[in-house]
């Protein structure tokens, strides 16, 4: 399991690249905010940047890119449940029968 000095340095360089990428993307996200775009574009662009950051973090810091298939199965099941349940919530919110109203 021990790694050589060369492998060690190579891994450090890799993580350093990911770090600078994440910092750069954070700056991009803040920059998009200061453009004062219409709300929907603001949300889509900023969350898009956040998604890219999350992907980099999961793939390289959490080494999902080299993980076993079982981990992918666990995560895919999780994502299916999350999307399904958010979908159910939004369906309930937007799918009111005629004459219905939300109580706040």
């Amino acid at each position: 399991m021990a790694i050589t000095q060369q492998d060690f340095q190579s891994e450090i360089n890799g993580y350093r690249s990911i770090f600078f990428s994440l910092v750069f993307l954070s700056a991009v996200g803040v920059g998009i905010h200061y453009l004062h775009l219409p709300t929907i574009f603001n949300i889509i662009l900023i969350l898009g940047v956040a998604f890219i950051q999350a992907t980099l973090s999961v793939c390289y810091f959490m080494h999902l890119i080299s993980e076993r298939k079982l981990i992918f199965l666990v995560l895919i099941l999780t994502v299916v449940f999350v999307i399904g349940m958010i979908g159910l919530i939004l369906h309930q919110h937007f799918g009111l029968p005629e004459g219905g109203f939300h109580v706040s």
Binding site: Y15, H33, I46, V74
Partner: protein, 197 residues
């Protein structure tokens, strides 16, 4: 009694040591928790007649600084694990020490932000935005504190395992790191959702 099996060697059926599968299952449950909280945010926001721009109430530069702090702590956390893989215990101590320091900085800034809100009479009960802000960041902060406790243990008393079972200790740090990266990942969504949109 024998030691706990598969703390170092992989199981034949899963191809993983037990703690790694265990932490991923735990993180899946955490995804469900935060998905429920983000769903609450979505419902509150789309159902509101008006919703404040986060930057008009929250401090974007401080939030951005906290983002930078957490990203840095993620890097030092993984460097701590890589140091152990390279049998560099001093490097592990240095990097995990930096992780703990950065965590304390994050919590300090968060405490300052909270106190500033209270000073301006902004409490969880003030409006829906403040309620979801305090709920989301508060639960996230509790996760940060949990990770801080684990990392501090691994830095101090727990590090004695390096003398007797170095490979098991390395795996323990890897698993702790996976949790820490997840907590950082949640903030990567929290910051833009609350502060920037």
């Amino acid at each position: 009694m024998e030691g706990i099996p598969y703390t170092v060697e992989s199981r034949q059926d899963t191809g993983l040591y037990n703690a790694k599968l265990g932490i991923w299952l735990f993180l899946s449950s955490e995804v469900m928790l935060f998905a429920a909280l983000f769903s609450s945010y979505i419902i509150l926001r789309i159902g509101a007649e008006s919703w404040p721009v986060g930057a008009s109430i929250l401090n974007v530069p401080l939030g951005a600084l906290n983002t930078l702090i957490l990203i840095s702590s993620s890097v030092t956390m993984i460097l701590a694990w890589v140091s152990l893989k390279a049998k560099n215990f001093a490097g592990f101590k240095k990097n995990l020490g930096f992780t703990i320091l950065l965590t304390l900085c994050f919590l300090g800034i968060k405490a300052y932000e909270y106190s500033a809100k209270f000073h301006h009479d902004l409490y969880p009960g003030t409006n829906n935005f403040m309620a979801i802000y305090f709920t989301l960041t508060g639960i996230h902060a509790l996760h940060i504190i949990g990770g801080l406790i684990v990392n501090t243990y691994n830095f101090s008393l727990g590090s004695k395992m390096w003398q007797t079972e170095p490979e098991r200790f390395t795996n323990r740090i890897e698993v702790s790191g996976l949790y820490w990266h997840f907590v950082d990942l949640v903030w990567l969504f929290l910051f833009p959702v609350l502060y920037l949109t």
